[in-house]
């Protein structure tokens, strides 16, 4: 299953709920303001770091670049472009957008 999170982890608690209900082996794609969750030295990063052992975490590179946080990314988070986003959707049986 591919989980898609598009909100900053500070503004909403969507990421928390996603991390709580994502099964081991599933993937999480951070898009739009969700990419802030993939930056290091922030409070939300702890949850993402802990999840990296059991789920794959991706961040959408155009959104990362737009927000100027390229150099602040957590190790272990994989960058994908829109084509990579399409591939992730195709590779997983279903998707859940945490709106």
């Amino acid at each position: 299953m591919l989980h898609i999170v598009n909100k900053s982890p500070y503004q909403t608690r969507n990421l928390e709920s996603c991390l709580r209900l994502a099964k081991a082996g599933s993937a999480i794609l951070l898009i739009e303001d969700g990419v802030y969750a993939a930056t290091r030295d922030n409070i939300a990063a702890a949850g993402v770091k802990a999840a990296l052992g059991s789920v794959s975490v991706y961040a959408l590179s155009p959104d990362v670049e737009a927000r100027g946080v390229n150099n602040l990314l957590l190790d272990g988070v994989k960058l994908v472009d829109y084509g990579g986003f399409v591939d992730l959707v195709a590779e997983h049986a279903n998707t859940q957008s945490w709106l």
Partner: protein
């Protein structure tokens, strides 16, 4: 693969429709098909032909119309959501059609994947 898309937010205010557009373009570039783009909630506001964004900004509505024209994509606006928000035949942009919510459920059935873009 056949993708269904649902968009829940209006243009400019939320990035959802931008991301959905880039996703659709990338899917087409990879040879996938788009079964339908369904506009629900404030997403129906993507379908007004009356927007006049600043010159140096993207034109979100025209971008959808052009995509529909070039790739024959089915852009469906939910009638109930549209009536509530003032989107009618008289202000509908090219390439969009107004129909019922069943079109969303059908897209879920017919498409291999349904992806929701919202806020």
């Amino acid at each position: 693969m056949k993708f269904g898309i649902m968009i829940s937010e209006g243009p400019y205010t939320h990035q959802a429709t931008d991301t959905a557009y880039q996703f659709v373009k990338a899917a087409l570039a990879k040879g996938h098909q788009i079964h339908r783009v369904f506009f629900y909630h404030d997403g129906v506001n993507n379908a007004t032909r009356l927007t006049e964004p600043p010159q140096d900004d993207r034109n979100i509505v025209n971008r959808w119309s052009k995509l529909a024209e070039e790739h024959g994509i089915d852009l469906v606006v939910c009638v109930a959501a549209a009536l509530r928000r003032g989107i009618l035949e008289e202000n509908l942009a090219k390439g969009f059609r107004i129909s019922g919510l069943g079109q969303l459920v059908e897209s879920g059935i017919q498409a291999d994947r349904l992806v929701v873009f919202g806020d």
